[in-house]
C-alpha cells in the first residue's frame, strides 16, 4: 500500500545555516518504514581507508613486470588515415605497438550498437580518436615515442554544429546522421493550442559538461596468471559492461575475462561506458606484450578524449489560459551525440521523458532527436538528458508566469501533477505527492515575501547589485526507463562466510555515493544485525552475480531492494537447514541474536548457505517501448529547488548566495550520505549553470586542464540547505527511491530564473557566463548601455 499521508514540515522545526550537524539535518517526518525515529547515521564503512590514504586506486597499484600504456590519437576531426610513420631515429625495440590489425576479436565497442571502433581502422570521426596503442617500461620513453609517430590524413569536412547534421556532405551514420528519434504524443496538441489564450515559443540551449571526477580514467590489464584469459583492474562503475565489450573485442568467452573494480575516485556517469574502451586498450597491450599494462590518463587526456554531457537545443512551445492553466506543450528536443552512438538513445529517452515536467497538461507532443557531430562522443553524465530538457521547460515556465502576471510558484501551483493525474506517456501518477508544499517550504526557507520585498528595496538603491529569488520544480524517474529493469533481470546473492558473517554479492560499485554503507544498512535491517556485521564483496566478476550497472539512481532503490530480498532468503535457507537438523524454525524468527546463533551453528557444521534474489517487475508497471506509452518509470523522486542570487551589473558576475533543495526521495537510508548526494549534485548543477564551459576548436576540446575548465571551488558556492520529505516507495528498501541524479536537474533553471528576475533579461543558455549576460543586458538596455 502506498501511504496516503503527506509528510509536512512542522513550521518551527528547523533552522539551518552553516555546517550541517546531526541531528540538525531537517526532516519532514521519518518514513514509517524507517521506524519513524531518528538514529544517528553510522560512519561510512569505507571511510577509514579513504581518510588514511590506504585505499588503493588503480594508479596506486604496481605489478611485477608492469608496463605503462599510452594512446596515440587523431589530430583531426574527420578524415581518412593515409599513412602512419615511425621515426627510425627512435629505438622501437622496447615498445609494444598495437593497431586495429592486432585485434583478435571484433573492433567494436559493444554497447547499444557496434558503430564505435576500439581503434580507428583507416578512418577517424573525431579529434582525439584512438588510433594506436603503445606500451613501454618507461613512461618518459612513451612521451618521446608519441612525438616520433606521424599520422597523415586526407581530411573531410567535419560536422561541428548539430543543426547542420542533416546536410548530405556530413552523412556518416544511417541515412541522415540521426542516432535516435522518439515521439511522445498525448492528446491533440493543435487542439490544445486552440484553447489557449496565450502561446509562448522559445528555444533554449545547454553546453557540454565534463564529469571532472578527480581521479582520471585508468585500468590495469594482465594475462591471467593461470595462462588463459585476461584480468582487468580499474576505475569503473559497471564491471559487466566491461566484460561484454572486452570479450567481444578479444573474441573470448565471458569466463575468460575477470573484471575487478579498484577503489574509484568518482564517476558521475563518466565511468559508465568509457572504461570499456580503456580496459579494451589495456587488454590489447597486455595480450601482445604478455605483461601487465597500466593505462592511466592524465587530466589533459581525460578531458580531451572522454565522453561529456550531451549539448542540447530545446524548443518549447506552450499554450496557457488567462487563468494560468497549461493547455498544450510542444517540445522539440535535439541532442548532439558526438561522433558515435554510445548511450545516446537512452539519454535521449530520459531527456524526452522529463521534458514535460511535473505538470498536468492535456495535450503534449514531444519530438526528440539525437544526431551525429564530429566531436568526441557524448555519453552518460548524472541526470542523463533530464537536466537538459528540465532546464528548457523550467525557464519557459517562469516566462509564462511573467506574461500571466502570476508569481512563478503560483503559476506552477495551478498546473502540478497530483496523484491520479496523467503524464505525457499516459502514466497515471501513483505517488501521493504535494509539489506545492515542497515549493512553499523552499520559499519560506528563503525568507518568502518579506525577503523579496527587501531585495526589491535593495535593488532600487544599489548602483550595481541586483538580487532575486528563483525556483525550479521537477521530478526524476528512478531506475532504468520502461522495461529496462526487466531486461537487466538483476541478481544479488547473500552468503554466510566461514566466520558466520553475512556477505552481500553484487556487481554494484562504490563510487563515493555510499553503496557499501547503504547495502550494509539494508541487509543489517533485514536480519536484525548491526551494519558492521555485514560484508559487501568487492565487485569482481569472478565472484559476484550481475546486478546491473551502477547508474540511473538505481543502486539503493532497485539493487538495495534485491539486497534486502537476498538477505531474507539467506535467513529462510538457514532456517531450512536448522529445521532439517533440529526442529521447525521460521525465517521470520531468525533475526538478531537468533540469526547469530544459527549462523554459528552453520559454521560449526560447515554448511554453505546462500540466499538469492532476482529482479521482478512490480505488477503495476506496464510499458510499451514501441509506442512510448505507459509507466516510463516505476516511481519518481520529486523536488522543488530555490535560490537567491546577486548579480553585479558592472561585471555580470553571478553570486549564488542561498540555495535550498527540498525533495521527496522516499525513505532516507542514511542521513549524511543522502545530504552529501544532494549537496554534491547541486554544486555540479551550479557549475553547469554558471562556469563549466567546454570550449571546442575545430572539433577538439581546447580547455583540457582544471585551471581552464573551471569547476566550483569552496568559495564559489553557498552552503546548500537540504530538506527531505519521505513518502515511502513500496518496492524500495525501507521505502527508498533513487536519489543520485535528482539534484543535477534543479540548479540551472533555478539560478537562471533568479538571474532573469534580477536583471530583467531572459537568459536561454547554460553555462550562463558573464559575457553572455552582458550581451543580453546591453541588448535590453536603452541606448547608452547599462554600464555608466
Amino acid at each position: 500500500m502506498l501511504s496516503s499521508q503527506i509528510y509536512r514540515l512542522p513550521p518551527q522545526r528547523v533552522l539551518l545555516r552553516g555546517p550541517l550537524r546531526f541531528p540538525d539535518i531537517p526532516w519532514y517526518n521519518r518514513c514509517p518504514m524507517n521506524d519513524g525515529e531518528l538514529t544517528p547515521p553510522i560512519p561510512r564503512l569505507d571511510g577509514h581507508d579513504k581518510v588514511t590514504g590506504r585505499a588503493q586506486y588503480v594508479d596506486d597499484i604496481q605489478m611485477p613486470g608492469m608496463l605503462h600504456g599510452a594512446t596515440i590519437r587523431s589530430t583531426i576531426a574527420r578524415g581518412r588515415i593515409t599513412g602512419i610513420t615511425f621515426d627510425p631515429a627512435l629505438d622501437w625495440s622496447g615498445f609494444t605497438i598495437v593497431t586495429a590489425a592486432d585485434i583478435p576479436g571484433k573492433n567494436e565497442v559493444l554497447l547499444l550498437t557496434k558503430d564505435q571502433p576500439f581503434l580507428a581502422d583507416g578512418y577517424v570521426r573525431h579529434h582525439s580518436e584512438p588510433i594506436l596503442l603503445l606500451a613501454h617500461e618507461d613512461r618518459e620513453m612513451l612521451r618521446r615515442a608519441a612525438m616520433a609517430i606521424t599520422i597523415s590524413y586526407a581530411e573531410e569536412p567535419p560536422c561541428l554544429d548539430v543543426r547542420q547534421a542533416l546536410r548530405p556532405e556530413f552523412r556518416q551514420h544511417g541515412d541522415d546522421n540521426t542516432f535516435h528519434a522518439i515521439d511522445i504524443i498525448k492528446g491533440d496538441v493543435d487542439a490544445g493550442f486552440e484553447s489557449a489564450d496565450l502561446i509562448l515559443d522559445e528555444t533554449y540551449e545547454t553546453g557540454a559538461q565534463e564529469q571532472a571526477y578527480i581521479e582520471p580514467q585508468g585500468m590495469i590489464a594482465r594475462p591471467a596468471p593461470d595462462g588463459g584469459g585476461v584480468e582487468i583492474f580499474g576505475s569503473l562503475q559497471c564491471p559487466y559492461y566491461v566484460v561484454k565489450a572486452v570479450t567481444h573485442l578479444l573474441g573470448i568467452p565471458a569466463g575468460e575475462l575477470r573484471v575487478v573494480q579498484t577503489t574509484t575516485g568518482g564517476g558521475f556517469g563518466g565511468k559508465e561506458e568509457y572504461p570499456s574502451i580503456v580496459a579494451g586498450h589495456a587488454a590489447l597491450l597486455a595480450l601482445k606484450s604478455r605483461r601487465p599494462v597500466k593505462l592511466v590518463y592524465d587530466r589533459h587526456e581525460d578531458i580531451l578524449a572522454t565522453t561529456k554531457r550531451h549539448p542540447s537545443i530545446t524548443r518549447v512551445k506552450a499554450g496557457v489560459t488567462l487563468d494560468g492553466k497549461l493547455t498544450a506543450l510542444e517540445i522539440d528536443l535535439l541532442l548532439d551525440g558526438g561522433a558515435y552512438v554510445t548511450l545516446t538513445p537512452v539519454v535521449l529517452s530520459r531527456a524526452s521523458l522529463h521534458a514535460s515536467g511535473p505538470y498536468a497538461v492535456p495535450d503534449i507532443t514531444i519530438r526528440a532527436r539525437a544526431r551525429l557531430t564530429n566531436t568526441p562522443p557524448h555519453g552518460a553524465f548524472r541526470g542523463f538528458g533530464a537536466p537538459q530538457s528540465i532546464f528548457a521547460l523550467e525557464r519557459h515556465m517562469d516566462r509564462l508566469a511573467v506574461r500571466l502576471g502570476l508569481s512563478p510558484l503560483e503559476f506552477r501551483r495551478r498546473n502540478y501533477l497530483k496523484v491520479g493525474a496523467t503524464m505525457a506517456t499516459g502514466q497515471i501518477v501513483r505517488d501521493d505527492i504535494d509539489m506545492h508544499t515542497l515549493a512553499t517550504t523552499v520559499y519560506d526557507r528563503l525568507g518568502g515575501a518579506e525577503r523579496e520585498a527587501e531585495l526589491a528595496a535593495a535593488n532600487a538603491l544599489s548602483p550595481s547589485k541586483r538580487s532575486a529569488l528563483g525556483f525550479a520544480a521537477f521530478y526524476h524517474g528512478a531506475g532504468f526507463t520502461g522495461s529496462g529493469e526487466e531486461r537487466l533481470a538483476s541478481q544479488v546473492a547473500a552468503r554466510l562466510t566461514d566466520e558466520g558473517a553475512v556477505e552481500i554479492l553484487s556487481s554494484n560499485t562504490e563510487i563515493g555515493q555510499g553503496t557499501i554503507t547503504i547495502f550494509s544498512i539494508i541487509a543489517a535491517k533485514a536480519l536484525g544485525l548491526d551494519p558492521s556485521e555485514i560484508r559487501v564483496a568487492p565487485p569482481d566478476t569472478a565472484r559476484v552475480p550481475d546486478s546491473g550497472p551502477t547508474v540511473a539512481s538505481r543502486t539503493a532503490m532497485v539493487v538495495g531492494y534485491l539486497v534486502q530480498q537476498a538477505a531474507l532468503d539467506l535467513a529462510a535457507k538457514l532456517a531450512g537447514k536448522l529445521s532439517d537438523e533440529l526442529r521447525t524454525v521460521s525465517a521470520e524468527s531468525l533475526r538478531g541474536e537468533a540469526f547469530r546463533r544459527a549462523a554459528g551453528q552453520a559454521v560449526e557444521h560447515g554448511w554453505k548457505v546462500l540466499g538469492r534474489s532476482r529482479y521482478e517487475k512490480p505488477a503495476f508497471v506496464q510499458w510499451d517501448e514501441t509506442t512510448y506509452r505507459g509507466d516510463a518509470y516505476a516511481t519518481y523522486a520529486w523536488a522543488v529547488y530555490g535560490c537567491e542570487v546577486e548579480v553585479d551589473t558592472r561585471t555580470f558576475e553571478v553570486n549564488v548566495t542561498r540555495f535550498v533543495a527540498n525533495q521527496d526521495v522516499g525513505g532516507v537510508l542514511h542521513a549524511t550520505l543522502a545530504v552529501g548526494q544532494i549537496q554534491g549534485g547541486v554544486v555540479q548543477g551550479l557549475g553547469w549553470a554558471l562556469c563549466e564551459q567546454v570550449i571546442y576548436k575545430d572539433g577538439a576540446v581546447r580547455n583540457t586542464a582544471l585551471s581552464t575548465y573551471v569547476i566550483p571551488t569552496f568559495v564559489d558556492v553557498p552552503p546548500i540547505e537540504v530538506l527531505f520529505a519521505e513518502t515511502p516507495y513500496e518496492f524500495g528498501p525501507m521505502g527508498a527511491k533513487g536519489i543520485g541524479e535528482l539534484p543535477m536537474d534543479g540548479p540551472a533553471p533555478a539560478v537562471l530564473n533568479a538571474i532573469a528576475k534580477a536583471l530583467g533579461v531572459e537568459p536561454e543558455q547554460v553555462p550562463c557566463r558573464p559575457e553572455y549576460l552582458m550581451m543580453l543586458a546591453d541588448a535590453a538596455a536603452p541606448v547608452g548601455g547599462t554600464r555608466g
Partner: protein, 160 residues
Amino acid sequence: MAEATIRFRVNGRDVAVTAPPFRRLLDVLREDLGLTGSKEGCGEGECGSCSVVINGELVNSCIVPVIQSEGAEITTVEALAETPIGAAVQKAFMEHGGAQCGICTPGMIVAAAWVAEHRAYGSDLRDMLAGNLCRCTGYDLIIASVDAAIASLDIGKSRE
C-alpha cells in the same frame, strides 16, 4: 638525464633519493617511496589532491621539483593519524560525510589538518581550503567535518 641524490625527511624518516632533479616530488613520494596516499588529480597545482606539508607550508607536491626538497621535513597523509590534529580530522571526515569517493580526501585532510592548526581567529574555512577541489560533496560536509574536528580539539575555543 643527469640524476642527483637528494636527502630529506618524510614522516620522520630520513630518505635519500636518486632521481632527475626536476622529477616531481609527487612521483618520488608515490613511486620511489611507495607513499601512494598523495594523489594526482590535475598535475598542475590546481586541485590539491597531492597536498603535503613541506617545512610547515602546505604545498601541491605535483609542482615541486624534488631538488627543492633537499634537507626538507615533509609530512604526507600517511603520518597524520599519529598527530592529534590529524587523527581528529580523519575521524571527523568519517563521521560527518567529509569523504565520498575519497580521491581528494588525503590531500583535503592534509590541508584541513594544516588549516586547523594555523587558522587565525575569524578566518573563513572556505577561503583557507579553496586550494583543494572536491567533485562529490559540494563542500558543506567537508566544512562540517573540519568544524567538528576543531571543536573536538578545542582549538577553536582556545583561539577565541
